[in-house]
Amino acid sequence: MKIKNLASGIGDFLDDRPRLKRYLPQALTLFFIVFVLGYFTFNAQVNMGNRGIVFGFGFLQQEASFDIQFSLIDYDGSYSYGRAYLVGLLNTILVSVVGIFFATILGVIIGISRLSPNYLISKFAEIYVEIFRNIPLLLQIFFWYFAALRALPLPKEAINFFDISYLTVKGWFIPKFIWTNFSFLLSSILLAIVGIFLTYNYAKRKQEATGQRIPAFFISLGLLIALPFLGVFLGNVGLSFEYPTLIQQTTTIYNFKGGVGIIPELIALALALSLYTATFIAECVRAGIMGVGKGQKEAAASIGLTPGQTLRLVVMPQALRIIIPPTTNQYLNLTKNSSLAAAIAYPDLVLVFAGTAMMQTGRAIEIVSITMLTYLTLSILISMFMNWYNKKIAIKEK
């Protein structure tokens, strides 16, 4: 009874002071958040202290002394843990970029196919989506790595593509491009891109001013072919290939030398990630296209636009607005899902840094927080880029 009286007393007290009543819950919420965080920090400190563990990031400069299977930058065990982190991060970015690239292409194709009037094509697309969307991603990765790619032959009996490329249980070996005077070719391609950009801008302004249409597409195509051709011719650009060759190392061990070897772990992971994410992107694309009113297409046809122009100028710009936000989510998911790499020995950030490096240094708290921050940063960067793109294609009120 006493407590009830006290409580109602406080209630009356607060009712008389509306400002205090308004801010008190917020202050209390803040207090609890700070309290919980503080409690965790305190708890970790006490227990680490008891076990003689020192917190710090000095280990990042120490020699890593372990090797990594596959790296985009120079690395061996004599580099630091910081460098090993970078190797893992780049490998994560590599598989994410490859995955996003193929998932987008496949997703758009499947999404459009699902709307195809052709029964076979749309049914096939639907079956694809339902199968790959409903099997857990980890199982798909296991399937590609342990079932499909493990069944490939040893290097000696490799699957041979025209004597220049070989598929084996140890990876896919492709020729290496060796360029001479590559900078000439690169600058001419850049020049062509700038030229195409200017052409389109000019064509657009010309059309807005005079109504006259310039065949910008054909001019661009011409630029894209002519300029690099000129560059190769004038700059004496040469291209030769280094083909992988089979060498015998012992009685039964054969390996490929030269060329570029794509490790099966990367193939399996990129394959599984793109096939899985493509189903979600396909659904986003389908939803986007279906979300554009039928009247829009009819109106476009009535003013004399061709079906191609209708899709390009009327349907897609509106559909993209519906497609982009959910597709951003899928890109984020793909990047985060790439951490499943650790299950199949692809040396990504989780395997290299939150795996080997964490084990060898024992710095669990530091390494896990660095890894989490890294994924957070990657995700925020992707969503910032996609938000920028989304804003760019949004309706601009005039």
Binding site: L24, S65, K170, I253, F256, A345
Partner: protein
Amino acid sequence: MKVTFKVLLTIKNEGIIIMIKSLKSLILVIGASLLLVACGQQGGGAGSKKSKTLQNTKKAGFVKCGVSQGLPGFSNADASGNWTGVDVDVCRAVAAATLGDANKVKYFPLSAKERFTALTSGEIDVLSRNTTWTLSRDADIGLTFVGVNFYDGQGFMVRKDSGITSTSQFKSGMSACVNIGTTTELNMRDFFNSKGIKYEPVVFEKADEVVAAYDSGRCDTYTTDKSGLAAQRTKMKDPDAHIVLPETISKEPLGPVVRQGDSVWEDIVRWSLNVMIEAEEYGVNSGNADSMKDSENPAIKRLVGAEGELGAAFGLDNEWSLRIIKQVGNYGESYKRNIADTGILPSRGPNELWTKGGILYVPPAR
């Protein structure tokens, strides 16, 4: 700590609801949170004179022991879930000493990657999982190694038909399968580097995945501790198609590990292992331990608890060592049962007693 946190969460949730509905119970919530701060500060301290781990173990009624995910001879579960192996016997010895029954052990199968975090976070109290004793592990990450129950060294396995009979035949471009987070991963680099060989390391988290990758031809060689190679070979599709190369490229003293900060518990685990080795040295085994109480030799009498007050130093009774010997056996029995009779490594090599040409030598239990 765990309980405190749960209470904290529920109180916090309720707190928010109360706040939203009305502000009348503020005082109570603030009071409760102040109380929790007090609890939080109380909970942290361990490592006083009494063993908190021993207390908790007695309260739980079992020893929480981290083992491997399946390494024949060391720690391996059979079809009905019974664990056996020399590492498992260390856990059983600790259970026999502290709880009076060697079967009162709860096993936590851990990957190489998980093992240390499981120990430092308190999920397990003893890690007996073919773990190599190194300076950085002992000194840097809050662990204490209590001894060595198996002297090992790293070796390589190759397919017999490859024609390789020595590591000197390794060539650049070969791939090696290895377990993540192990000393083998580091030794391998030192080895190949010193020979100027470029190799491809393929790193898996689970030992089974490493073996499967090697078995399928993904790797040309498989490297780990030699005992591990011998044990894993028995699991392969065709064990006779593989050989372990004669070279040993590193020292791998394997032993049980405990958390830093509870020196009494550390001593219990250390001496549970030492007693098994010392028992073999004095010829005391599970069969004759009881009759040894009447021995003429005071060292043997101390070992079976008929003389001295050795258990009191740990807060245990005087028959702790007798129980280890009776229920688990001495080191020789454990080795024979788990490693020799299973055909993994019939010869004891360095793991023979110092009196018989090996390097097994423990401080006297007195």
